[in-house]
Symmetry: C2
Subunit: 189 residues, 2 copies
C-alpha cells in the first residue's frame, strides 16, 4: 500500500518518471519532440485550434484517444462575440499550466506531497500597440505577474525552492521570458 501511494505521488507515477529520465539520459534522441496545432477561422474573432498528433520518444504518437479543440474569441469591447478566451488569455493559461506541471513533477521527484497549488496571473497591455495606433507601446503585455499559493508536506522554504526550480525548467516560462524565433509562411489558396 505504501508502495502504491509512493508510486502515485501527487498523481505522478514517480517510478515512470525516474524510468523516463533514465531512458532519455541513455538515449538523448528520445528527447526530441515536435508539438503541433491546426487553426481554422470561423468568422470575426472566432477561430479554433485542433490539437492531436505529436512526435516524441522516437516515434509518432498513437496513444492519444481524443482530439483537443480550443476556441478563441474576443469580448465585445474588442469587437468579438466572446466565443472563447482571447489569445493573450490563452497565453496566460499556457504559462500557468506549464509552471504548475513543472512544479508538480519536481515536487514528485523530490518526494514532496502537495495538497494545493493555485496561481493567479495578470498581464498588462496598452492595446494601442496591437491596434496599430501607436509605435511607442509594444503589442503584447508589458509584464506578467504570477502569484502561486502552494501547500504540501514540506517547509515553506522548500516549497518556495520548488517554485523557483519550476521557473528554471518550465518550457513556456522559458519561451515567454526569452522569446523564440517564429517563421511565418503564407500561401494563397
Amino acid at each position: 500500500m505504501f508502495e502504491v501511494l509512493n508510486q502515485l505521488r501527487n498523481g505522478v507515477d514517480s517510478e515512470q518518471l525516474y524510468r523516463t529520465l533514465d531512458t532519455i539520459k541513455t538515449d538523448p534522441a528520445l528527447g526530441v519532440f515536435q508539438f503541433r496545432a491546426r487553426n481554422r477561422w470561423f468568422g470575426g474573432a472566432h477561430n479554433r485550434s485542433t490539437i492531436e498528433g505529436f512526435y516524441g520518444a522516437g516515434q509518432e504518437d498513437s496513444s492519444r484517444l481524443r482530439t483537443f479543440e480550443l476556441d478563441a474569441g474576443e469580448p465585445a469591447v474588442l469587437l468579438g462575440a466572446d466565443t472563447g478566451a482571447n489569445p493573450v488569455e490563452h497565453l496566460l493559461h499556457a504559462l500557468a499550466a506549464c509552471l504548475t506541471t513543472s512544479l508538480v513533477y519536481i515536487a514528485s521527484a523530490r518526494g514532496v506531497m502537495l495538497t494545493f497549488v493555485e496561481s493567479t496571473l495578470e498581464g498588462d497591455m496598452d492595446v494601442r500597440g496591437s491596434l496599430g495606433l501607436s509605435d511607442e507601446v509594444r503589442n503584447g503585455f508589458e509584464h506578467i505577474r504570477v502569484s502561486f499559493r502552494v501547500s504540501g508536506d514540506a517547509p515553506a522554504e522548500q516549497l518556495r525552492e520548488i517554485v523557483e526550480r519550476a521557473q528554471a525548467r518550465s518550457a513556456v516560462f522559458d519561451m515567454i521570458t526569452n522569446g523564440v524565433p517564429v517563421q511565418v509562411g503564407f500561401a494563397a489558396v
Copy 2:
C-alpha cells in the same frame, strides 16, 4: 443590404472597429487593459485555468456572460493522463489565434473579404531541457513554424501583405518572439 454586409465584413463590425480606433486615439487611457487567469491544480499533470474578468476601456468589464475553463494535461509518454492539450500546445494555439484575429481585423479595416483562413503550427523541442537532463538545450521550443493558407477577394500579394501586417501587430507574436518580463510570487498556505 450592401451596407449591412459591409458593416459586418468578415464578421467584424467595421463601423465599430473604426469607432473604437477613433475613441482610443482621442483618449489613450482607454487603451489600457489588464487580462487575467486563475489556475488550479487537480492532480498529476491536470490543471485548469478559469478566465473571466478583465479591465479595459476605462472600466472593469461586465459584458462577459460566461467563464472560460481551459484544461491542461500531458500525454502518457510525458507522465500525464491526457486531460487536455499540454502547455506548449496551448502556447501554439495562443499564437495561431492571435495571428488569425489580427489578420482578420486588418483585412476588415482594408475592405478585403476573406473566405478561408487556416494555419498549421509546429514547435520543435528537446525535452532534456525541461526535464532537467541537460543545460545545453533550452527548455522551450527551439523554433516555431507557422504556415497560413488564406483566400479572399484580393490578389495573393495583398493577402500576403495582410499576413505580414498581422505579424507586425499581433500581441502574442510580439510576446513569443521578443519575450516579456514575468515576475513570479509565492506564498505557502
